[in-house]
């Protein structure tokens, strides 16, 4: 079963920042970015980004380099990202909302990192790095003396533009790289298909480390519109909702769980700000359609809700579905729709042979959105990028590890994972990654994490702990884990168990643990 996307030609050099530069030339006085009451025009942002690119060049960080970015949302963040791209380099987001220990682990996974850009507020978090740390605040004079003109650096569609961390399958996060061609193809699809233009002002509401934040950051600059950033390290619903109302913001990209928060806010506050947006592009985790449907169908709601599916390994979005087409009763699960431009969805069985319409299979992605692969090592995940024969010709695909099927009218339905990965509040998590962190704690001999659901349908993690000696105090384990892992990875509940049940193959029997969860009342 192949679900083909529309074929749309791309420019000979599909390089994302060239689009931004073209807008800087065509509409230099348009506002490019707003943050904390400050703003820069396209001309100003372009000039500052050029100066930063020149600084990188001066320091020898040339085409092909990888530069970490550990900054809070700010105007400087866009200056830095565009400057890195202009230098021909790729950026790696290092989310300052992560604990220092987690950032240290991530830094250890980036081979050949050239430098890290930080600010006085974040520098401490990347103290462990062995590479130079660049602080813009200390370099203002030096930057001002550098040329404001576009640097003469050759960049092609094959060059890497960014790399983000995503869950692996062995407890070590994977650094997955995206090429300019992949990113350009995505932004070109979204802007042409949904007619995003210089009025399509955007607000970023997702965490910097998420793959979806990369397109949310670049989409308005690709279209000539204004990017609005929040002066907040953590997602702030009150501030977001207020900014949506105060400015002429038209588009928001977010995880499904963030959409619920914004919808709940609008319903509780009796507003209509969200309803009047042009688009919310959302997805990244199983949708509880009931959480948004009543709001979406209210009279006067003119916001188009695009329910999307994709993976970080393939430029983040592969398919899109206008939720207005959702029919209760007809669809058990809300579809994620059809592929984007130059992107195909293949559904295959275990032998990588195509399954038929309606049959369940593994979702694979092919076409110009398939990324460059993992930069850290050759773990078992690398085999997910593979080649299959289609009508006698080789086709490079990425096996997502997601299960799904295609309906009779050509819509993709995603059913869930084939392995132990799970999405919690939009973040893709490998349970082994959490189990490893738990296993490192002094009071824990062994740990297993299982996935349950709350009454309102949200994914929730429970950790079963085998104590090393005296029973570990739950609060203590949680507090220690919060220092080691991003908050979404810290389980909601901890249970002490004398030993972990094993399957006949000697692996931890998660099904038995889930039974244990269902049959016993959780301690409060």
């Amino acid at each position: 079963m192949i679900l083909p996307g529309k074929r749309v030609p791309l420019p000979a050099v599909p390089v994302v920042h060239r689009r931004f530069e073209a807008h800087a030339k065509a509409t230099p006085d348009a506002t490019a970015v707003r943050w904390a009451g400050q703003s820069l025009s396209y001309r100003e942002l372009n000039a500052k980004a050029n100066q930063f690119a020149a600084l990188l060049a001066e320091r020898g960080h040339a085409r092909g380099a990888k530069v970490g970015v550990c900054l809070d949302y700010s105007i400087d963040m866009l200056v830095v990202i565009l400057g890195i791209l202009k230098a021909g380099a790729a950026y790696v987001p290092l989310d300052p909302a992560y604990p220092e220990a987690r950032l240290r682990l991530l830094l250890g996974q980036i081979a050949d990192l050239a430098a890290i850009v930080a600010s006085p507020a974040t520098a401490e978090l990347v103290d462990s790095a062995t590479v130079p740390v660049i602080d813009l605040a200390q370099l203002a004079d030096q930057l001002a003396a550098l040329p404001e003109t576009d640097p003469d650096v050759t960049v092609t569609g094959d060059d890497l533009c960014y790399a983000v961390f995503t869950s692996g399958s062995t407890g070590v996060p994977k650094l997955t790289a995206v090429r300019h061609e992949n990113w350009f193809n995505l932004l070109n699809w979204l802007s042409r298909e949904y007619r995003l233009d210089r009025r399509s002002h955007n607000l970023v509401v997702s965490a910097f480390g998420f793959d979806l934040s990369q397109r949310s950051l670049m989409a308005p600059l690709f279209c000539g519109a204004t990017q609005h950033l929040m002066a907040s390290r953590n997602f702030d619903p009150a501030m977001a909702y207020r900014l949506l109302g105060e400015h002429d913001i038209r588009v928001v990209h977010c995880a499904s769980s963030t959409l619920y928060v914004l919808v709940d806010w609008e319903v509780a506050a009796g507003g209509d700000t969200l309803s009047r947006l042009d688009y919310v592009l959302f997805g990244g985790e199983p949708l509880h359609v009931e959480r948004v449907l009543d709001w979406a169908r209210r009279e006067g709601n003119t916001c188009t809700l695009l329910h999307q599916y994709g993976v970080a390994e393939c430029a983040d979005v592969a398919t899109s579905f206008d939720l207005a087409g959702y029919r209760r009763g007809e669809h058990d699960v809300a579809p994620v729709g059809r592929p984007g431009y130059n992107t195909d969805i293949h559904l295959v069985d275990e032998e990588l042979r195509g399954v038929r319409t309606g049959e369940h299979g593994e979702i694979c992605i092919a076409g110009r959105s398939v990324g460059a692969g993992y930069l850290n090592g050759s773990g078992p995940e690398s085999a997910r990028f593979t080649t299959i024969q289609v009508h006698g010709a080789p086709v490079r695909i990425y096996r997502t590890g997601d299960r799904g099927y295609v309906t009779g009218d050509g819509q993709l339905i995603v059913l869930g994972r084939m392995d132990t990965q799970v999405k919690v509040r939009g973040m893709r998590i490998d349970l082994h990654d959490i189990e490893r962190a738990l296993g490192r704690l002094p009071g824990v001999r062994q740990a297993a994490v299982v996935v349950g659901r709350t009454d309102s349908g949200e994914t929730e993690l429970t950790a079963f702990l085998v104590p090393a000696g005296d029973e570990p105090a739950e609060k203590d384990v949680r507090a220690q884990l919060l220092k080691a892992l991003p908050r979404n990875m810290v389980p909601a509940h901890f249970r002490t168990i004398s030993r972990l049940p094993l399957s006949p193959h000697g692996k931890v029997d998660r099904a038995a643990l889930l039974d244990e969860l269902r049959t016993t009342v959780p301690p409060r």
Binding site: P237, A479, A492
Partner: protein, 83 residues
């Protein structure tokens, strides 16, 4: 700022925390995250502060003040400035 007012804010904050965390056993110095709090519950608490107490508390401040006692003191400081 009277002591009575201080007590009143802390009591209302405490009631909101208990409700949103679905936990009646919250002490004034318990840490939000140690009580299994997460970003979605944080959003509900922020909204309740706006709708029920009439203050918009930035989420970054909720993270920096993760106990009933400290966030109540923060809210009080806001209201002192405002009046």
């Amino acid at each position: 700022m009277t002591d009575e007012r201080t007590v009143m804010i802390a009591e209302r904050v405490h009631a909101i925390w208990c409700r949103e965390l679905q936990n009646d056993d919250v002490a004034y110095d318990d840490d939000f995250f140690a009580l299994a709090g997460h970003s979605l519950i944080m959003a509900k608490i922020q909204r309740a502060f706006v709708l029920e107490i009439g203050v918009e508390v930035p989420v970054d401040q909720l993270y920096r003040n993760p106990t009933v006692a400290s966030i109540s003191a923060y809210i009080e400081s806001l209201q002192t400035v405002a009046t």
